[in-house]
């Protein structure tokens, strides 16, 4: 039986005046940024889709495959022990990032999508039945919508949605009304991947609990960008993707409270998730391994641990300060430099993460993104996996610039200059 090395989690009290991030210096940690695209410096503004990876993470993947590669929890030999130590040690690192005391509550998944599906299949199929209510929001990523649709269809349960205001803020008054329906579960995003809205997750969790609901939070756009303390938030389930948090693709996390995880049936059956297997029945392993059937992406989770350390070393408060500054700068500069640009989402940087969706009237976002690419500027164009939100805002599609620790004001200036070229080319 493997145990997880547990060390006390440091509680950091930072001085109110924090030194700002030196994004220019940070950029040197990200080898991919040192390239030109179509003859221009690469300006990567699609970190909400996936972040770039620091050298430390890339090196960890390389070192794992060169030196430690072996299956985990199985071999009685040095390599397997090193692989297992790295794999389980990463769990401790991620626990620290989320201020989780017990690393056994960290379940490795492939991404936030799998984390949410795990809850929908394992918890949902046991606890949701005909007529039960699940409350979601209009701003959810498809990953926090479709799994609940599947569950609701199977169980004949009802989905209700917290609407948004025109500037992309959840209608808390309507949430109060929906809570009177006594939902079994309330699931919402911490930060909107499309509008950047930072939701008041602590307050919403408290009210949901008072109404008797469990709370699942999609933290895919929060963990990589701002301090997340799952104890302070008080939710029951918290999901995020490693690849958006400077980690490798294929790494992801579900955190849930121990008593919930222990009471939940397994998600997938197979090796590693069992204690004893007989021909007609099996006993489950302890958490977290009960939910980790089959050989996992060992290297990816080790890499995510390194990414978690990198983020903690940067300081999540400082990263949040940096992105707040960038959002404020973008919301100020873009309308001045690019007359006529339409911006969406809350205009107050205090409640907005590093996500800036926009449209140039008369130019389809695909075309805008294509022209920006000619100047080395990478933005996302489309519906960003939030089709209902785009429908609500009566938008076919949007272009989206999104930020990370390596994003600079120069990047936003490059975006503004590129958009001027878009306007010139299309004559708008």
């Amino acid at each position: 039986m493997t145990t997880i090395e547990e060390r006390p989690v440091a509680t950091e009290t930072e001085a109110p005046a924090r030194a700002p991030l030196d994004a220019a210096a940070i950029r040197a940690d990200f080898p991919i940024l040192d390239q030109s695209v179509n003859g221009h410096r690469l300006v990567y503004l699609d970190s909400a889709a996936t972040s770039q990876k620091p050298r430390a993470v890339i090196d960890a993947l390389d070192a794992y495959y060169r030196q430690d590669n072996a299956n985990v929890h199985r071999g009685i030999y040095a390599l397997s022990e090193r692989a297992t130590a790295g794999y389980e040690g990463a769990r401790v690192k991620v626990a620290k990032l989320l201020n989780v005391n017990d690393p056994h509550e960290i379940i490795w998944t492939r991404n936030a999508t799998e984390s949410i599906n795990l809850v929908a299949y394992s918890w949902g199929r046991k606890h949701i039945s005909r007529g039960d209510v699940i409350v979601l929001t209009e701003m959810e990523h498809h990953a926090n919508l479709v799994p609940w649709q599947l569950l609701a269809q199977e169980k004949d349960a009802d989905l209700e949605f917290i609407p948004i205001t025109d500037d992309g803020v959840l209608r808390q008054d309507v949430f109060d009304v929906l809570l009177r329906l006594k939902p079994k579960l309330v699931a919402f995003t911490h930060v909107s991947n499309t509008l950047g809205t930072i939701n008041p997750v602590e307050d919403m969790t408290r009210r949901a609990h008072e109404a008797g609901a469990l709370v699942l939070i999609d933290g895919a756009q929060a963990v990589p960008h701002l301090p997340v303390d799952v104890q302070a938030i008080g939710a029951d389930f918290y999901a995020f993707s490693g690849h958006k948090a400077l980690g490798p693709t294929g790494s992801g996390v579900l955190w849930a409270r121990r008593e919930l995880l222990e009471a939940m049936p397994p998600f997938m059956g197979g090796g590693d998730m069992i204690r004893e297997v007989h021909l007609r029945r099996s006993d489950w392993n302890d958490i977290p391994w009960k939910f980790e059937a089959g050989t996992p992406d060992i290297a990816a989770q080790i890499g995510l641990g390194v990414a978690a350390d990198y983020l903690r070393d940067l300081g999540m408060d400082r990263l949040r300060d940096h992105e707040r500054d960038l959002v404020g700068y973008a919301l100020d500069v873009l309308p001045r430099e690019v007359p006529g640009i339409d911006l969406y989402g809350p205009m107050d940087p205090e409640i907005r993460g590093g996500v800036v969706p926009f449209n140039i009237p008369g130019v389809h976002p695909h075309d805008a993104a294509q022209v920006l690419d000619r100047f080395g500027v990478a933005v996302r164009a489309g519906h960003h996996c939030t089709m209902p939100l785009h429908e609500r805002l009566d938008l076919g599609a949007t272009a989206r610039a999104s930020f990370q620790c390596y994003t600079t004001r120069d990047d936003i200036d490059a975006l503004a200059n590129g958009l001027k070229e878009v306007q010139r080319l299309f004559g708008v």
């Binding site: 389809h364 695909h366 022209v371 489309g382 519906h383 089709m387 785009h390 076919g396 599609a397 080319l425």
Partner: protein, 131 residues
């Protein structure tokens, strides 16, 4: 600077030909590209086996709008048999620009709609993947 956004492409985008709703359509099809949220509604008015009128509405990028404009120009007044023999590569020839794999769906949105219309009219059965 641009191989993609040539003047005639932008001209078709700004002032697409055959943009509008037909009064007496024989067949109507609504298509969409779920990747980018683009939509197209295409209508044919067929009389004696000939496409008398064709119209389309919807929203989309310059590539999808220009290709719809060019394609509808091409098939207007032609016998259904000729229209049925029109292939996806012919649309790319009409556009006359290099289309990257990422934009192929945009270029093929109107062609895809046309295949559904031809299927509905019994002129050409729908292939599994018309694009």
């Amino acid at each position: 600077m641009d191989d993609l956004y040539r003047d005639y492409i932008l001209e078709h985008y700004r002032r697409p030909h055959n943009f509008g709703v037909l009064e007496t359509p024989t067949a109507t099809y609504e298509g969409s590209n779920p990747l980018c949220g683009d939509r197209i509604t295409m209508q044919l008015d067929v009389e004696d086996g000939v496409v008398r009128e064709v119209g389309f509405t919807g929203r989309g990028c310059a590539i999808s709008q220009a290709s719809a404009s060019l394609l509808t120009d091409e098939i207007k007044g032609k016998p259904l048999a000729d229209v049925s023999s029109f292939a996806a590569t012919d649309v790319l020839d009409l556009l006359g620009i290099e289309i990257s794999p990422a934009r192929l769906k945009c270029a093929m949105l109107s062609f895809d709609a046309l295949q559904h219309l031809l299927d509905e009219l019994g002129a050409k059965p729908l292939a599994n993947d018309p694009a």
